[in-house]
Subunit: 326 residues, 2 copies
Amino acid sequence: MAETAKPDLFVGVDLGGTKILAGVFNSQLKLLQSAKLSTKSSRGFDAIVDRVARCVRDAVDEADMNLKQVRAIGIGAPGAVDPETGEVIFAPNLQWKEAPLKKELEKQLEIPVFVENDGNACALGVHELELKGRSRSLLGIFLGTGVGGGIIIDGKVYRGFNGAAGEIGHMVLQVGGPKCGCGNNGCFEALASRTALFREIQQRVKGGEKTILTDMLGSELNDLKSGDLRKAVRKGDKLVEKVIESAAEYTGIAVANLLNILNPETVVLGGGVIDALQDEMMSIIIETAMDYAMPGTVKGIEIVASKLGDNAGITGGAVLARQRFK
Amino acid sequence: MAETAKPDLFVGVDLGGTKILAGVFNSQLKLLQSAKLSTKSSRGFDAIVDRVARCVRDAVDEADMNLKQVRAIGIGAPGAVDPETGEVIFAPNLQWKEAPLKKELEKQLEIPVFVENDGNACALGVHELELKGRSRSLLGIFLGTGVGGGIIIDGKVYRGFNGAAGEIGHMVLQVGGPKCGCGNNGCFEALASRTALFREIQQRVKGGEKTILTDMLGSELNDLKSGDLRKAVRKGDKLVEKVIESAAEYTGIAVANLLNILNPETVVLGGGVIDALQDEMMSIIIETAMDYAMPGTVKGIEIVASKLGDNAGITGGAVLARQRFK
């Protein structure tokens, strides 16, 4: 029996502080299958590299494919990255410094690995697959557990001097505002991430305000998810509505700041929070951004929500893998 | 008698909301002479173009040179600019929209004119002449009546989609903070420009706080200048010291935001406020910026004060004129 030609594959990996997501893509960058593992970041660098490798193998197996078909792997990592050496220079959520991610993963999998900052990878995925490369300059803003960003200038990822550009989550919007995980106060991330939304709701509940979330989840609100906020607000919950509106306004001001600084052609918002609360947040974000941005910066630009949702990172990883693999 | 060879000249113009400064430079970009005129912005576009032309002629005359020796003129204008057509798209301080500055000025002077945003022009001047082009990415922050900015990426001015990038003065740092001239609240410009410093001092004096500035200038403090603040603080004036420290801290937070977003190799601070108060402000700015910036962004970068002072704009204009003139 003649052997069937085995298609070339690319794997995109989204390495986060809490979970690893790996996606197997064909050479047209269609997603075939994906797999998920928790990161277990406290176990240290070697263990995490093992888990990334396992997650890649799992995804390939889910797709009924063979690891030998994978031409390259692209990874988005949560920190500053040297795209040449594939070293993660600094990743606070993983407690990594100068971690040789590319080198160790290539040793385990014997496949070329390319590493990029996670925000950049997401922006790359949106730019190449969702917008088909038609925007010359793009700013990606991803609201999840934290707030990530990625900047595309002249069609290429903009990394800055130390590979650390696009850390928009730690742009201070409110000097003296709520404490951020980074140690500063009033960062965009401390005002509009999922973490910020949940903390604000929990504090208000402790302060005696009422929400149907406590009927849904109990008074501690331990297992709160972005989807619960959507359910609550659609049932007319005023507390949740106020908190979401406030986060959307802060996000709009952040977008305006970035429009004034970078004047990109396209702003794309994504991540779990936008994915769950797009209908509630996007119109407020756009209205606030247009109100705060200088008139010169907004003519002909667009501000849109990404449709890639949680798959933006693996998509970007696959784009990276295909771009860099020659 | 044999005729002496007449050297080629380039003229740089800094067109501001209140004054026009023109500088005559030789082909090595050494400043020979300069001239100054008030802008009289209320008189409208044609009158301002006449005044720019007059200021150029005055500067050339001051240098004992002839207008025929001027090969090109470079102008920094306070707004969004189309560098190809030389049109000023939007300049709120001049109340201009789609103003054909290049075209009209070339008609009057019969010399090629190139137009750039003023913050970009200043950044270009600092990058080319002060740093000798050695930094690949530079962010210029200019604190004067307002706050201007200019971004150099890969050795070139970064303009963004509408030519309006670098409007860092309207980055909101303090949602709900003091009113800004742009209509928003809590902009960098409303917290650290000369206008902001003066307003804060005047309000505190009205509120009963004491300063030796009132002995120097009378209780209305009408003719306050940046240099007066320097004199006061050097005489131990606590009110002025506090206000300057606060502005320096806000500036440091703004620098950190921009480091996190753009991760440039070099940040240069300039403009009249920095020129007058460099010794009082720079160490606080740098310390605050380093404190707020993400660790990944600051390794090997430098934050410095420009030595070009008020001449940054005309220097940048001359650099632009020489670059674009072929």
